[in-house]
């Protein structure tokens, strides 16, 4: 939590001396549990409120993110257990799942850099299962040599340049090496990135590198150096929520198709696996593009024949939760009542009762957190909306 306020001050040692342990107090039974729970809870509430305070920031809901992975010999260092690359792999695996959970209409791509060159590990796509496999297949790539960040950035840029202007273009660079072997001036690439509105964020596993920090600053990205594995995870997780749109972006109406699942049992060949003859085969089911009737196994996808974006309604709906977040509940004094969510009789050991500002129903602490973090809607208000 102390890391949150590193923004204004340049370095940790420039800030005042903080007695972080004084915030922890024992409760009546001499236990620390409630105090710790309270601190965690306060942090969560503050984060919720911060997001609220930012007002109506335009979020990039349709995201295009390239993850550039350093695969140089420095990733074999064992300061993270068992080594840097394996630890990264483990964290990224979780990230992929959560990323597509929070951004169902987004796409990911992977670029690796080692032996002074960069290569595309996986193209942009929106299929989470495929990306989990990509992360698992990183084992096949042996780390070695020196990385080349400029080459990697150029590859990412060449592909992001063509993405439609209403979507967000992002790069996340994870590096362990403090050096890079570049063919030219990296500053020119940085200028190019910022001109194209590519938001570049950097997570360093080793130490701060000036070029990286300058790059993230120039392109409105974030820069972080990890402290330990837990902090690494937090830094990666910050990229799950859609960032505010960088630079100028158009708001336009995009034509989309909402295909239905094929009802007939007649087999057909899908367009998504057409190139790969080993996988491509006749199969029933799938989704048909409403414009040109070509078949796809999975959504969301862009139709290869007529370039219509195909999505399903739940994909759209899932993105809504970033647009309509649930208002925070207010804390009220303990009164005897029953939690509207889980039917627990209150007040319990938390001594606080929470009330929805709109429907005035009361909830316990656990339900409050559950509703705000997972469910994103209030069961009381969905009743009220019907009674209007």
């Amino acid at each position: 939590m102390a890391l949150d306020d590193t923004e204004g001050k340049e370095y940790r040692w420039e800030t005042g001396y903080e007695k972080t342990w004084e915030a922890i107090e024992e409760d009546a039974e001499g236990l620390l549990d409630t105090a710790i729970a309270e601190i965690i809870e306060k942090g969560r509430r503050r984060r919720l409120q911060e997001r609220r305070a930012a007002g109506n920031v335009r979020l990039g809901i349709m995201r295009h993110l390239y993850i550039i992975l350093d695969m140089s010999s420095s990733m074999l260092d064992q300061d993270l257990k068992p080594n840097r690359i394996m630890s990264t792999q483990k964290i990224l695996e979780k990230f992929v799942d959560e990323f597509f959970d929070g951004n169902p209409m987004s796409q990911l791509g992977w670029i690796g850099t080692r032996n002074k060159t960069a290569e595309k590990i996986a193209d942009m796509s929106g299929n989470s299962r495929k990306h989990v496999e990509v992360v698992k297949s990183l084992n096949n790539y042996a780390c070695g040599g020196e990385p080349s960040f400029q080459n990697a950035l150029e590859i990412a840029l060449s592909s992001l340049r063509h993405m439609p202007s209403h979507t967000s273009r992002e790069i996340l660079l994870i590096h362990g090496s403090l050096t890079t072997c570049d063919p030219g001036d990296v500053n020119a690439t940085i200028m190019d990135l910022s001109k194209n509105g590519v938001r570049t964020s950097v997570i360093s596993l080793a130490a701060e590198v000036r070029a990286c920090k300058a790059m993230s600053k120039e392109t409105n990205g974030t820069f972080g150096v990890i402290l330990d594995e837990g902090h690494f995870q937090d830094l990666v997780r910050e990229h799950i929520e859609p960032p505010p749109m960088a630079g100028k972006s158009d708001s336009s109406l995009i034509k989309m198709g909402f295909p239905q699942r094929n009802r007939t049992d007649d087999p057909g060949v899908c367009l998504c696996h057409l190139e790969d003859t080993s996988v491509s085969k006749l199969a029933p089911g799938g989704y048909a593009c409403p414009q040109c009737r070509s078949k796809y196994c999975e959504l969301p996808v862009e139709c290869k024949a007529c370039s219509l974006t195909l999505v399903s309604a739940p994909h759209l709906a899932r993105s809504f939760l970033h647009i309509f977040p649930l208002d925070p509940f207010e804390e009220i004094d303990a009164i005897q009542c029953i939690c509207f969510g889980c039917n627990k009789s209150l007040p319990d050991k938390n001594k606080h009762v929470y009330q929805c500002k709109q429907c005035r129903r009361r909830f316990c602490l656990d339900c409050d957190l559950f509703l705000h973090e997972t469910l994103h809607c209030c069961p009381g208000c969905s009743v009220a909306s019907l009674c209007k």
Binding site: T167, K255, S312, P314, G341, C342, L375, P379, S382
Partner: protein
């Protein structure tokens, strides 16, 4: 050793405006009886199994069973009658008495008023609220587990109401949260085709079924919905219904095949 238990939450629609209730109100008692028997059958499968019944009405939703003990109110301990398992009796008594209370107090007053009728004149049930409560309850039970215990939860919705688009967002939130928590939502629909519930069943991996013959509801419940999720792949269950995944446009609330989506707020036109 790991102790596994199964939590079954039944959301029962007690809205008097359901079509099958309006055509023959006796069917409703049959439905309640079937659900109770079904819960008993679930409890009978394993001693550690748990059940919970939630009623959803026109403008409220309530947990009927288990009854929460409040301070100052002591529940009468239930004695065995005719050698029946006490839990069965407790379940039956509390569900029946609470449904009765529900119907007596509120049903007719709110049924007459027009405040809960939506634009098309339908009386919609607040199923989304009941499902939200079910997830809160599951969340609570998960937290109350001690080490070495495992809880498999699932939700069954028994409803015959028509759906309202006003609840669309809440429904979607519930379905995606359920998917995240690994809770499956089964839908047993006693009315017209329920688009949202069929989507929910598809998203969470549950079964959507419209029994063709409502008086035989119990048979359908026992055959299709009693087996746990892990057993279901061994069974030849009714084939999945094709799910309608089209989006409704914001201008006319009509389902469309192709449309224009705003890149900022994702409303479709």
């Amino acid at each position: 050793m790991e102790v596994e238990s199964n939590l079954l939450i039944v959301v029962i629609d007690v809205n008097p405006a359901q079509k099958y209730v309006r055509s023959d109100s006796k069917q409703f008692f049959n439905c309640v009886d079937s659900v109770l028997t079904f819960c008993n059958a679930h409890l009978m499968l394993q001693a550690s199994n748990k059940a919970c019944v939630i009623a959803s009405h026109i403008n409220q939703s309530h947990i009927l069973y288990p009854i929460e003990e409040r301070e100052g109110v002591t529940l009468k301990p239930i004695r065995q009658v005719d050698g029946q398992y006490e839990v069965f009796l407790e379940l039956e008594k509390s569900v029946r008495s609470q449904i009765k209370k529900f119907v007596m107090s509120d049903a007719f007053t709110s049924f007459d008023s027009t405040r809960s009728a939506d634009s098309s004149g339908n009386f919609t049930t607040c199923l989304a609220s009941a499902l939200g409560k079910a997830l809160c309850y599951i969340n609570r039970k998960e937290r109350e587990l001690t080490a070495g215990e495992k809880l498999n939860s699932r939700i069954l919705v028994v409803s015959g109401s028509s759906e309202s688009t006003a609840q669309y967002m809440s429904f979607m939130n519930v379905f995606f949260s359920a998917q995240k928590l690994g809770v499956i939502i089964d839908a047993c629909v006693l009315g017209p085709y329920a688009t949202l519930l069929s989507q929910g069943a598809d998203i969470t991996g549950g079964i959507y079924l419209r029994p063709p013959h409502i008086p035989g509801l119990l048979q359908y419940l026992l055959w299709v919905f009693l087996p746990e999720a892990s057993l279901r792949k061994q069974l030849a269950l009714p084939p999945p219904v094709p799910v309608d995944y089209r989006a409704a446009c914001f201008c006319h609330r009509q389902l469309i095949d192709m449309g224009y989506v705003c890149s900022v707020c994702l409303s479709s036109k």
